[in-house]
Symmetry: C2
Subunit: 470 residues, 2 copies
């Protein structure tokens, strides 16, 4: 959180005449410099991350137009920030002053669903939920389900290697990407990977681009593998009178090798906020709840084993259902977690990941920090893979509160590192955590990051200041 509060970069002098001449060379209908429109593309959904005003927004419709835009930007030495739905939470799409925002919102074609080879090819602006629906219609399954699945784009998901609730069983976005087309900073088109499920010809540039947050190339086409459709899921909610009991249950479910497709935790603060919003029946004695799902064909057995593990660890109440409507109701607490916390004040949402065995240590630290800083901090997230979202409630208009929130954020992120974890499980580094990245990486790794970045973008025009500090 060293980036501090929302601040603008200093204005860089630009030659208006040069820029007007440049604008005229963009493909017809692609460029907007209207300040009102541009302002709407200036930043993502992150809080307390650096913000400024870009020069213009380009909305290319195809790879050729993306390449055209990048050639012009390279020639003029203008930084380029790629943007999907703008729903990112780390400031990766916050555009530097005078930069060009390249929005993928016109590149929304699902180019192919191949049922025999179980793969799909999409443009980067395709909404992830739309791909999931199209795969489902073809009897197949695209597992990644970030919380933003209904509005975030495949390009954004790939650029941040987005996660979600299914990761415990199905992995993250990158686990499905087998090939990419991308445009380099100089406008040349790069193809990586392949359409086959296996292949070891050359370096894995595909996964070098996955999670690179628009700093190495602009992704213009994505090939993902699909899975057979899963069985109907069964769902369980287990309630605990102490957080450490819930933490032990997370570890116990892991050790019992239960085939779960979801293992989410909500703490007392989060449950209280949800209860105020929706009255689902969590009383004040519930210190933590686990929501467990299995989509295995043997889901009843899996949940029986998970229930036994929870009861062994002191669960006070367990509810199981294989009915989809009832399951929806059980999931509602999880879905409401963030909106319910947001109703309590300004929210600073963190995203750290620790080994599953250390989830309880992380959560206890977060609670101590909340007490010390006098802040309410809700904790919820993907306990099954150790990826938690501590959510700090603060008052952005109050300097003291904002400073306390930033201290709490830093303390929690540092704790994740101490516990053998990472500063970001799925939201990405962006501009919010670029200084934190340098604390996670050793200096040799940081130097290799910079060298690899320079290898692909020698001019340093792609998303400068994102991922590595500028």
């Amino acid at each position: 959180m060293t980036e501090g509060k929302d601040i603008a970069d200093p204005e860089e002098p630009t030659d208006a005449g040069d820029r007007a001449g440049l604008a005229a060379r963009f493909p017809a209908g692609v460029l907007t410099t209207d300040p009102d429109v541009v302002a709407g593309y200036a930043h993502d959904e992150s809080r307390l991350s650096r913000r400024s005003l870009p020069w213009a927004v380009a909305s290319p419709a195809n790879t050729e137009e993306v390449a055209h835009c990048l050639r012009l930007a390279a020639e003029a030495g203008i930084p380029v920030v790629v943007r999907g739905a703008g729903s990112g939470l780390s400031g990766a799409a916050n555009a530097p002053t005078g930069s060009l925002v390249l929005s993928t919102h016109r590149m929304t074609s699902i180019l192919e669903i191949d049922t025999t080879n179980r793969l799909a090819v999409v443009q980067p602006g395709v909404i992830t939920g739309a791909l999931r629906a199209a795969a489902s219609e073809a009897g197949l399954f695209y597992p990644p389900d970030p919380g933003s699945v209904a509005f975030s784009t495949m390009g954004g998901n790939v650029a941040t290697n987005a996660g979600g609730m299914c990761c415990l069983k199905y992995g993250v976005t990158g686990d499905y990407v087998i090939g990419l087309e991308a445009v380099l900073a100089d406008g040349r088109v790069l193809r990586t990977g392949r359409r086959t499920l296996k292949g070891v010809a050359g370096y894995d540039l595909t996964h070098l681009l996955v999670g690179s947050e628009g700093t190495l190339a602009i992704i213009t086409e994505i090939t993902v593998r699909l899975l057979p459709a899963p069985a109907r899921a069964s769902t369980m909610v287990a309630m605990f009178a102490s957080l450490s009991d819930a933490g032990r249950a997370v570890a116990a479910i892991g050790e019992d090798a239960v085939d779960t497709s979801m293992l989410e935790l909500l703490d007392r603060t989060t449950l209280g906020a949800v209860e105020r919003k929706a009255h689902l029946g969590f009383d004040g004695d519930v210190a933590a709840a686990l929501i467990v799902q299995s989509d295995a064909l043997t889901s009843a057995d899996e949940l029986a084993a998970a229930e036994a593990a929870c009861r062994r660890c002191g669960a006070t109440e367990v509810v199981v259902s294989s009915d989809p409507d009832e399951a929806d109701l059980l999931l509602q607490a999880r879905r409401l977690a963030l909106p319910a916390l947001e109703a309590l004040g300004d929210c600073l949402l963190d995203d750290v990941c620790v080994p599953r065995s250390r989830v309880v240590d992380l959560v206890e630290h977060i609670q101590r920090v909340g007490v010390e800083e006098g802040l309410e901090i809700g904790v919820f997230g993907h306990a099954g893979d150790g990826n938690m979202h501590p959510t700090i409630i603060f008052d952005e208009s109050d300097d003291a509160s904002r400073t306390a929130a930033m201290r709490a954020f830093d303390s929690i992120t540092a704790c994740a590192l101490r516990l053998g974890g990472t500063v970001t499980g799925e939201h990405g580094v962006g501009r919010l955590k670029s200084a934190w990245l340098l604390r996670e990486l050793d200096p040799v790794s940081a130097e290799m990051h910079a060298r690899v970045r320079h290898a692909l973008d020698p001019q340093g025009l792609l998303n400068p200041g994102c991922l590595l500090p500028g």
Copy 2:
């Protein structure tokens, strides 16, 4: 196959006095320059790949000694070739003249099996089968099962991103690697990835190293995720009177979304060779056999669906068993495929991968090439993921036969590219296919490969001539 037959690099002049002085600076007991010993480390198991005689073999016991060796090599400008078990099939461990072979055979510790977080940490010299056994004892499962599982090393598996028969369901080696420690060409230690299952902090340098064949860094420690142990597998063998029927069955099983953990194909030539060796009862009317396995809890249902797909596509006979001993017998034909073909003459083993829907086109092309060149070519492999191993039988002592074998190899590899596939599914590029890599990659990708390689190894000392032509 542009590398031609086994040939030595021209001798590079070296100053014997300098080398002796250098040798004395290696850690005690680590270096051997005895020509008889060194000759045993000069090349891997590939055929018709470039071979020479290295200067010396270093056998460090730990990361510090690896770093020490690399610092000395960098100082003296000596190329370094890392070597696991030497069982590679692409010449990636063929050492250039005067180079230093760095063998990992003393780095054989399984450092950790963490059952709660389901991960293992190993040194690179650990035999893959040993890790699988250790995971199994802990109630867990390390899926990758290359054909060499009993003798190849984890370091070699990671460096080539090794596959195997389980890939259809479980993916390849890289899908399990979550963190690496590696030593750069200049002797500095690089740590990549993490111990958590999720994490998006920075570029995915882990998977940049996976499959990089010793050209970017020397891997000294590997962290892999483990899975819960699978259910006991059921196995099916289906026989077909025509190869195209078998090919259609492969596609049909894929389209029916059957949960199979193995889907192997053997053609008439391979079955004939196996029959001559083991008399398993495949008569001459069988043009192709599929071996299908499912380790799902619902394996009986899965194999019933697979059987139905095979019968629909004209299978003449289907045998199913859930008995482990019977399954072993059914698998014997697959296990004997390569040794049986090797009994017919010298074998040039190819490794191409095409989209599953094109397997039958590939196999038909291979058969045509065999007729045209007057060569027997056995075809077997992982039909479920399109990764086939055409095996050309030839006489290495006969120039005409060798030339015909190379033409056939080139024709098959070119066909895989035409069918939308890759020149190597799992054996790697090495020195055997470095020219083919440049046919698969577009020029922009090839340039990015070279730039990334230069970023990590500016002196070009790590495995020169491997992966990209020298």
